[in-house]
Every structure is written in C-alpha cells, then in structure tokens.
C-alpha cells in the first residue's frame, strides 16, 4: 500500500512538473505571431496559434496529473502518465511545426514502416517463447535472412523468390536454434548467442564470396501496393492501405497470430506447452514437434523481418545492416507481454519516436541529434518502469523439456 503511494506521488509529481514546464514554455511564443501548421493528408491542414495551443495542452496534462493525488482516483496514475506523454509529445510537435507544415500523416506512415521489422521480430520471438524457448537470436536470424534473401533474389533474378528464400533461411537458422536448444538441451541463451555470432560471420562471408566477387550490389525492391478503394480513405488510406508487401504482411500477421494463438487448436497447444509442457504431453501433444514447429515458424517471421531490410527497403545488403533492431524487437516483445498486439504497440512506439527524431532534425529543432536518437530508448525505459510494470513470461520458458 505504502509503496504504491510513493509511486503515485513520484510519478504524478513528475508529470505535474513536466506539464507546468510546458505551460511556462508556451509563453515563449509571441501572441498571434507564431503559428503551427499541421497537415492531415488529403483532409487539408490545420493552423493553430502555437503558444495558445501548447498552453491548452499543458492544462489538459495538468488536470490529468492532478487526478491521481485525489485519494479516490489513486488508481488512475497511468492515466496521468498517458495524458502527460500525449501533451508533451504534442507540445514538441507544435513547437517543431512553427512556421512550417508538419505532416502528421507522413509521420504516422513513417512510424508504421519503421516499426515493421521490430514488430515482426517481436512476433518471431513471441512464437518461440510462447512454446517455452527463449529466443535472443532474432537479430542473427534477421541478418542472415536479409543476406540470403538478397543473394537469392540477385542470383535467381526474381525478388519474390528472394523473399521466399529469406523466409526459408530464417526458418533454417531457427532450426539450428531448435536443434541446439530442444534436442541438444543447450542453454537457450547460449544457443541464441551462437546464432548471433554465426550470423555476423556467415553474412560477411557470403557477401564477400558471392556478392562482391560477382560485382552484384543491387536488386529491385518490393513494389508498393495500393489496396483498391480502401487506399482512397483519407488519412488511413495512406498510412495503412498504401504500403509495401511486408508492411501489409506485418499487419496481417499481427491479426492472424492473435487469432491463431487465442482462437485455434494450434494456439491452445502452443500456449499450453509454454506454460506446462508435462500437462500438454499427458494429453497426447508432441511437445518436441510443437516446439520445433513454432521455433521454425518464428524464424520464418524473423526471415520476413530480414527481407524488410534488404528486399523491401533498400534493395541492397550491407554488413550488420539490421543494426541491433533484433534486440529492440526483443524489448518490444517483453514490453508487449508476449502478445501480438502488445508487440505491435511496442514496435510502433519505437517506430514513432524514430520517425519523430528524423522529423525533428529536419525541422531544425535546436536539440543535439544525440538526444533525439536517445528518445525511443529513454521512453521505453520509462514506460517499462512506470506504466507497464512487470510482464510475466510463459511459465516454462527457458526450461528444456526432457522425457525421462
């Protein structure tokens, strides 16, 4: 009880302070002169007086952060966090938009795209972990399949076959993980580390042996697809229904895996194995087979995430091009409490702040870029510490299943 109270005081106190700062900040803009322009795609744009708008936001946040102090509303401490997060981000966006158009639709579109590999990676990890196999090798799987997918698409001269090979190679690398951690009963984190190291070596080696000697550097990239009719919807049409295949696949997979996990036989069995493998075994479910299957499926999704880098985005492959996104995906997965929608949210937060960082730089906000780069990481830590709290992993995770 007492601990909770401190938490409320500290958190709401901080948000209160932040909102007061925002209100103070709003007076920096001369009345009637500073105008922010927000673009909403085809819906047109909205122009607002910067100072006044920021002040209104600050007041909303202030109310939100005062509420938890009232004893009756103690449990709304998360509300105060979310309103303040909203007001702070909005206030900074308004600041950035002074004098120039700030394209909200573009920002969201970019966020969704940048979140794609993270969400996919998180779901890859989730599939493994839901059956009780830890996967810290998402990074390695993504890197390998980015490389293999690209190589195959070059040599076979067909990007769709390349995409298929990327997914396949993700699955094959995952098979190694499954073999090591399920059959060989290796510590699952060790096995993941092996794959991460191997991936760096292997891709570097393949790139040098097959790509550079052959002087091949570039392939086509996956086409942009506009969903007929739906892409005409204002705002959503651009953000959701006009995208490249892997983004669509990602969104589809979030829905599909949610349904699969919670509504189908396969999902029920998968979850049961992650929670209590003996129980699943005693009702005749083949634990080993299900684990293999899920780890390989997870790897294939990681393969898709890898293809996003090489085939969908850039049409080239560079060493280490996944740039630690696999580890971010791991964070998104834990953040999302091993749920596809949670993983999607987590990935989106990263994508959003990464996109925001770029746009802030373009808008010349006088903050050193290093601090903007930090943004997604700091936000994740705060959210994890204050709002999400403890996320409980599947009970049997990391424990190899042994039959007698």
């Amino acid at each position: 009880m007492q601990k909770d109270y401190y938490r409320i005081i500290i958190f709401s106190g901080l948000t209160l302070l932040l909102n007061l700062l925002i209100i103070r900040f709003s007076f920096n803009f001369p009345k009637e002169q500073a105008v922010s322009l927000m673009g909403f795609g085809t819906l047109g744009k909205l122009s607002m007086f910067t100072g006044r708008s920021i002040r209104i936001l600050g007041c909303i946040g202030l109310i939100g952060s005062i509420i938890p102090f009232v004893k009756k509303f103690n449990r709304y401490v998360n509300l105060s966090f979310f309103t303040t997060a909203f007001t702070t981000v909005s206030a900074i966006i308004l600041w950035a938009a002074v004098g120039s158009l700030f394209d909200i639709v573009g920002l969201l579109d970019l966020s969704l795209r940048l979140s794609t590999p993270i969400v996919l990676g998180a779901m890859a990890g989730m599939l493994c972990e839901r059956t009780g196999v830890i996967n810290i090798a998402i990074e390695g799987m993504m890197l390998t399949s980015a490389c293999i997918g690209f190589t195959a698409s070059l040599y076979l001269n067909n990007i769709w076959i390349g995409l298929f090979c990327a997914i396949l190679s993700g699955g094959i690398i995952a098979l190694l993980h499954a073999f090591l951690s399920i059959t060989m009963i290796t510590d699952q984190i060790v096995s993941g580390t092996v794959i991460n190291i191997l991936a760096v070596g292997l891709t570097g080696f393949i790139r040098r042996s097959f790509l550079l000697k052959a002087r091949l550097t570039r392939t086509a990239i996956l086409p942009i697809i506009e969903v007929p009719l739906l892409s005409k919807i204002p705002i959503l049409g651009i953000i959701i229904f006009t995208n490249q295949p892997i983004v669509f696949l990602m969104m589809g997979l979030v829905v599909f895996i949610s349904i699969m996990l919670f509504k189908t036989r396969w999902g029920l069995r998968t979850r049961s194995i992650g929670e209590h493998p003996e129980a699943a075994d005693t009702v005749g479910i083949n634990v080993f087979k299900m684990r293999y299957l899920n780890v390989i499926l997870g790897g294939s999704i990681a393969g898709l995430a890898g293809a996003w880098f090489s085939l969908e985005t850039t049409g080239s492959f560079d060493d280490m091009m996944t740039n630690g996104k696999g580890f971010i995906a791991l964070a998104a997965m834990i953040f999302g409490k091993w749920h596809p929608v949670g993983a999607f949210t987590g990935g989106l937060i990263f994508g959003f702040f990464d996109a925001l960082q770029i746009i802030f730089q373009i808008k010349n906000i006088p903050i050193p870029p290093q601090f903007l780069w930090m943004l997604p990481y700091v936000i994740t830590m705060i959210v994890l510490a204050g709002v999400i709290g403890k996320s409980i992993p599947p009970a049997a995770i990391g424990v190899p299943y042994r039959k007698q």
Partner: protein, 340 residues
C-alpha cells in the same frame, strides 16, 4: 517425430548442397608473381568492401599494385584500439609502404611512422600537426565536393527545397553537409536545405526513412552523404521520382548497380582511390615526399560523376554553370566558406 526431423535435415542438406554448387564462385586463376615490394592497407573500423572510403582506398591500392607489380595486402580493423597493432603487423612483415584509411587512425599512423622511419606511410583523411618525412596525409576538400553537389541540387530543384541524408556526425561528413548547404545558397540564397544525421553508416532503412520525410516536406533533390545510410536516401529519391545525388564514388555503379537510374543526377566524388593510387605511384617512382597532399577541385581530387541516364534532363546551362563553379573552386576564386 523422428521422421519429421529427418525430413527437415535432409531438406536443409539438399538446399545447402544445391546453393553451394549454384553459388560457388568461379575460381580465380592465380598468377604467381614474385613481387619484391609489399604494400599494406589498414582499414578504419570496417571492411575493405564497405562501399565507402575503405573500399575506394583498397581499389586505388589494387590498381597501383597491379600497375607496378607490388604485392598488396590489407587488414580490416575490428576495434579502434587495434590500429597500432595492425600497422605494426605490416611493419614486422616487412612491408614497404602502409596506407591507413580514415581520420580515426591519424594518431596511430603518426606514432608508427616515428617508430618505423624506413617505411612510407600514407593516411587517408589524415592531418598531422608536424608531418614527418615518411608520412603523407591525403586530405580531401569534401566541402568543395559538397558545394558542387549543392549547386547542382539548387539548379535542379523546382520546389526550392533540397535535402541531405548524412551518416554519423564526423568531420568528413560535416564538411560534405556544410559544403552542400553553402553551395546551394551560392546559387539561390533563399533555398531551404533539410538535413539529417543518422547515428550509423549502415542503416539504409533509416536513411531511406529520413529521405522520405524530406521528400514529404517538399525536397526534390536528395544528397545521400554517408555510406549505405546515405545510399538508402538515394534509393528513396529514386522511388519517389525525385533527384538523388550520390557521394564518394559514382554511385551509378555501386548503389544503382549500373542503372538504369534516370533520377540519379550525379555523385559528389571524393577520389580516395586516385589519391591512394598517386601516393603509391609516388612511392614507386621514388618521388614520395612527406607532408600533406590536398585533393581538391584543382587537382581533380574531387569532382562530380557523369550524369549517366540523367544526362538529358540536365540542361546545357546548368552544366555550364556547374563546370564554372568547379573551375572557380579550382582556381581559388570561390571559397566554400566551410571551416572546421
């Protein structure tokens, strides 16, 4: 269960074998030459095929080695603390000349040059406060290169907004960016230049995202300055149908894989390969002299690549003005205004 695993293992083996034979590189017939003189190259953190200066330096070295019959080897550095060690490895293997690539190796090169006075050193992007007799600092006027790119971008832009996607915030990149901005303003002082640093040289996805955000903000020329990250920006430009400008080397051949690339205007060249080549050439012809060697517009150390597929879209006037700018930079009548 067992059958299931066996099927998968067999499938993997078959795929692996097929891939192995399909993708097996042609064996290069080795010509055995017995060279007497050995040239070595130490990379900045990264590999000799990183599409940036490491690769170009390596290519320049290979060209020279072939021409003069030298034996050429390289060491790829993994961590900055290994610079000294890698240079020493060459020195103790009896190499006669060592090329070090990147400004990060400046101090190590200088130190080792003092230790091994008989070996000649050439350092790409390196400036020594008190140069030794056996060290040659190969410097580049990136600002001039960026200036030319900026001038071209300003002339080609219709919206009055242009963009630059940079890699990490390090001196050569900063010089490119500032040169680009000044070049654009030289043509059109009211021009808006959008710029973004990305905290990695190998994040083409984020480079692309940055470029897209700029294009959404009205930019119609994107200069990608920073390895694969910048190339990501160019890819975005190609996709969205706006102009792109490459960096360092002619990206028409590297990033765009030899075309077609109707929207790739040109590349802001930084001839690391030429500089390394000339340094080795000087050594081969015994004209090696310590000191700094500035590669700029006046000695064709920087410049711009051919327009290739975009040639018919660049008008004669534009080209004339561009060449004039380059000439002015070369003869010193025009300054880029970049100080670092």
């Amino acid at each position: 269960m067992k059958r299931f695993i066996i099927i998968i293992i067999v499938a993997v083996v078959v795929i692996a074998v097929v891939l192995f034979f399909v993708l097996r590189p042609k064996k290069v017939v080795e010509v055995v030459v017995v060279p007497e003189i050995k040239v070595g190259l130490v990379t900045d953190v990264g590999k000799v095929d990183d599409k940036t200066f490491n690769q170009f330096a390596h290519e320049g070295m290979m060209r020279a080695a072939e021409e003069f019959g030298f034996e050429a080897k390289y060491i790829e550095t993994l961590q900055p603390t290994d610079y000294d060690k890698n240079i020493q490895t060459f020195a103790e293997e009896g190499f006669d000349m060592i090329v070090t690539v990147g400004f990060m190796i400046t101090d190590a090169t200088y130190k080792m040059a003092g230790q091994y006075p008989d070996i000649k050193f050439a350092g790409v992007d390196q400036f020594y406060a008190e140069p030794l007799d056996n060290t040659m600092g190969l410097l580049f006027a990136e600002d001039q290169s960026g200036f030319v790119a900026g001038a071209l971008a300003a002339m080609m832009s219709e919206t009055g907004v242009i963009g630059i996607v940079c890699g990490m915030e390090i001196p050569p990149v900063i010089k490119f960016r500032k040169g680009y901005e000044n070049g654009a303003r030289y043509i059109d002082p009211g021009l808006k230049v959008l710029g973004v640093y990305i905290d990695s040289f190998v994040a083409p996805d984020r480079g692309k995202a940055a470029a897209e955000a700029m294009i959404a903000d009205g930019a119609d020329v994107i200069f990608g300055a920073g390895g694969p990250t910048g190339s990501g920006g160019i890819v975005a430009a190609m996709e969205k149908g706006v102009y792109g400008i490459g960096v360092d080397q002619d990206e028409y051949y590297t990033t765009m894989g030899g075309g077609p690339a109707p929207n790739l205007l040109t590349s802001a060249m930084k001839r690391v390969d030429n500089a390394v080549y000339s340094a080795i050439k000087a050594f081969a012809e015994d004209t090696f002299k310590g000191g700094h060697y500035m590669n700029n517009a006046s000695n064709e150390g920087i410049g711009y690549a051919p327009f290739h597929d975009a040639a018919d879209r660049v008008s004669k006037d534009v080209k004339a003005r561009l060449d004039e700018t380059l000439e002015k930079l070369a003869d010193g009548s025009l300054e880029t205004g970049v100080k670092l």
